[in-house]
Symmetry: C2
Subunit: 481 residues, 2 copies
């Protein structure tokens, strides 16, 4: 019976031990891993320039629709999106959107050295990354790469994700990408643990979870694709594992790192049950009327095209630009492509607090026409100036608390790049704060308090947490504070 090939091994995967390990096989600490990345940045020479659309090779504005398309029909298409929503407040949306229906694979290979889980990351150049080269997953593949239907060069380490008979799947989920810019795009987030010897190609290194989390304190170091995969890893899998690592089960943990571990274990013991969280979300999804359709790029109002940009008439939100790339380190040494370039930086921030001694996270049910489930959970504050939901009047709920720090304790802050293959220097501030004042605080009906364990469970079943929420959660670890 083929299922025996997938029989689970018993025992904890050992995430917490890896999260605590700052020293690993390839690096003595996080700083050494960071130094190696800087070396890779020097080694991999690359240049990216913004160019007029006329200089894009093989990309043209399609006759009849005005869509920006590749002449092969492959890759992706920049088209129009028109939509309306009544949640949480009525909005109309008209904007360009990226249509790339194919599911990509973001795969991280894991292996134990001296009993500690390590993850194989790559120093990889993407044209939109701040700093160009960042730490990416072992495998970033399109479906065509992955299934090898069109032939083409085989991505490195693909075999570990295709033939998993000798591997153990730790994580395997379909998750939504940025709903403000992609139309129903999903990626597969997968971590496979192997016992096999793995040849170490240049630009690839094994890192512990602790090293990765430590590097997440640095700006523009760990790329978006790595962050979303890492977000799928719970900090701890069982009370026994926590105890073995020296974390007691006592309520009211004194340090934030103890509170994170305890909150991860609190799946069924928060202030509300999992059932209640699901019911809150189901009710919101049921009542909202969201309607969105792709359309011809020429058919949207309020945007116009110059020879270098597609931009909104008021100059806000984002532009579509053309980029020309030259690189030593990629298979194709030079290419051109359209990219999304937000006008300003965004903010993604979680507000946390202790309720009955357990650390809770304030999540928001967010409508984004582009996300698979139309409404998924976002961080407490998700703010991109000019976006349809950013509002022109009152600032978003809790924006002041997370930005000027009044009455809160900062727990994490880092500037991160969104996916550098599609976004040009799109920077999001990832922030976590803790509210010191533990007195009851009323929240709007589209917000609710949940534990980290509840968030991890929702992540496991896919399309519940948006990518901005997952990115912030990835930044949290026992060595990040």
């Amino acid at each position: 019976m083929t299922i025996t090939e997938r029989a689970p091994r018993t025992g904890d995967p050992g995430f917490l031990a890896s999260a605590r390990a700052l020293s690993g096989r390839d690096f003595a600490d996080g700083a050494a891993a960071g130094a190696w990345l800087l070396g890779a940045r020097r080694r991999q020479r690359a240049e990216v320039a913004l160019v007029p659309f006329a200089d894009l090779r093989a990309w043209t504005f399609e006759r009849g629709t005005g869509d920006l398309v590749h002449e092969s029909g492959r890759f992706f298409r920049v088209q129009g999106l028109r939509g309306t929503s009544d949640f949480p407040a009525p909005i109309d949306v008209q904007q360009p959107i990226i249509n790339q229906a194919e599911v990509g694979v973001l795969g991280v290979l894991a292996r134990r050295f001296d009993g500690i889980l390590h993850f194989l990351l790559q120093a990889k150049m993407e044209p939109g990354n701040v700093g160009l080269v960042q730490l990416s997953p072992t495998l970033q593949a399109t479906r065509s790469n992955y299934t090898q239907v069109h032939g083409g060069s085989r991505p490195r380490y693909l075999e570990f994700f295709v033939d998993r008979r000798h591997g153990r799947v730790l994580v395997d989920q379909l998750q939504s990408e940025q709903g403000l810019f992609f139309l129903r795009k999903r990626n597969r987030n997968v971590i496979v643990e192997t016992d096999a010897d793995v040849p170490l190609d240049e630009d690839f290194r094994w890192m512990t979870l602790g090293q990765i989390k430590r590097l997440l304190n640095d700006a523009h170091t760990v790329n978006m694709d790595t962050r979303t995969v890492i977000a799928a890893i719970p900090l701890v899998s069982s009370g026994a594992e926590a105890e073995a690592c020296g974390y007691g089960a006592r309520r009211d943990p004194s340090t934030f790192e103890e509170a994170l571990v305890a909150s991860t274990l609190a799946v069924h013991s928060g202030v509300q049950s999992m059932n209640s969280v699901l019911s809150w979300l189901t009710e919101i999804r049921s009542k909202a009327v969201v309607d969105g359709q792709s359309c011809a790029l020429d058919a949207i109002d309020g945007w116009h095209r110059t020879d270098r940009e597609i931009r909104r008439d008021d100059g806000r939100y984002f532009t579509i630009v053309g980029a020309a790339v030259e690189s030593d380190a990629r298979e194709v040494g030079r290419w051109t492509q359209p990219m999304v370039r937000p006008v300003e930086a965004g903010i993604a921030a979680f507000v946390t607090t202790r309720i009955d001694g357990v650390l809770h996270f304030l999540v928001q049910a967010r409508m984004e026409i582009g996300v698979w489930n139309l409404i998924e959970l976002g961080p407490t504050v998700q703010y991109l100036p000019g976006a349809p939901d950013a509002g022109d009047g009152a600032p978003p709920f809790m924006l002041r608390e997370v930005t000027d720090g009044a009455g809160v304790t900062a727990r994490h802050r880092s500037a991160q790049s969104e996916e550098g293959g599609r976004f040009y220097q799109y920077v999001t501030e990832n922030i976590v704060v803790e509210i010191d004042d533990r007195s009851p605080m009323p929240v709007p009906p589209n917000y609710t308090w949940v534990t980290l364990g509840q968030l991890n469970t929702l992540i496991q079943y896919g399309n519940h947490l948006n990518i901005e929420a997952r990115s912030v959660l990835a930044c949290l670890g026992v060595h990040t504070t």
Copy 2:
């Protein structure tokens, strides 16, 4: 803080005790409940006639598209669907489809009498039901009914689902409807337990889970909407509850009912972990290329319209017909509407077997362009003659075993009506068999063996099991064999 209103009560909800109770507040046994339904059928006089499209009032074929639409723009629209899929084998789809984007609410009110959970069902006429009157949920409401945005008459018992401060949510999920006929339609499946006194309107009665399950042995008695809500209820919630009801924890239970209880508890202890089940499904969803779009009804090939039917040129699969309804028992006494009328009856069947002493169910990853997730889990056999995936060559995997019973033990068989508000006398045989031969049996890669506990968990997170699978699972209980 508003969340305290949703604080869970502790303790098992007591599903198993209710499933074992054949005697309840309103009926001494299942037969008495059945007799009451027959009385309601006599009392609620109704007539349904198929009529030419020209006799449909306020429904017309839209100029330019040929779509069948209501002149108010409300209710639903019969339009075209064109799509392709490469999973599990290449197919092209062109057919009419119902576009009804609104999320409906299927709500069942629960209350304890003498400590036993009862569920409030209604004897309700729907024009497409075989027998016309069947047992429906407490509340079947459209979003407009539910939110009362357009005013209109308030559905009975709505208040228990809108203001849940004094209720306890037992189940609350978004689930897909029939993917062969609806385009991305989802309904909310919700069960709310109340302690309040509930006025008992005519045609409403309290029934135990045991009575409902017993009635599911009878043909065309419990309607589709009730079945999908009931499917969300696990037979048992904990080992302690099972023991309290006299079910031991021993492996290799002797009766099928003991095996169902044990399998429900086997979430983490089947032949594969939940992680492994999710990984199998994620891989399939990632690799499949499914593309479908609604289009003008006039734009699909292979179908034509007569004055009474929209039908496929070969006469197979289904037709769209017009129905004229007269009824004593509904608010509106007469109306006309389009309906979907499948040409033949369908089959939905689960094959089960014991693996390592634990009862497992063989599920299939099924592509249906209409279901929310494109690929959701269906029963082992889901067969509607003429449907795109029914194949013209070899019969579906396991069809012979579930229909002629060779080498299997029958565990359940009943003829059920699909949703009578949209489908005209669409009958599906719901079947469960157990394979006696416990020797390893190879299954195709788009099938896998899971426990009932794993299926219940997947149901909880929504859009993992299709409606045909949920309907068959609803039929299983401790008194159904």
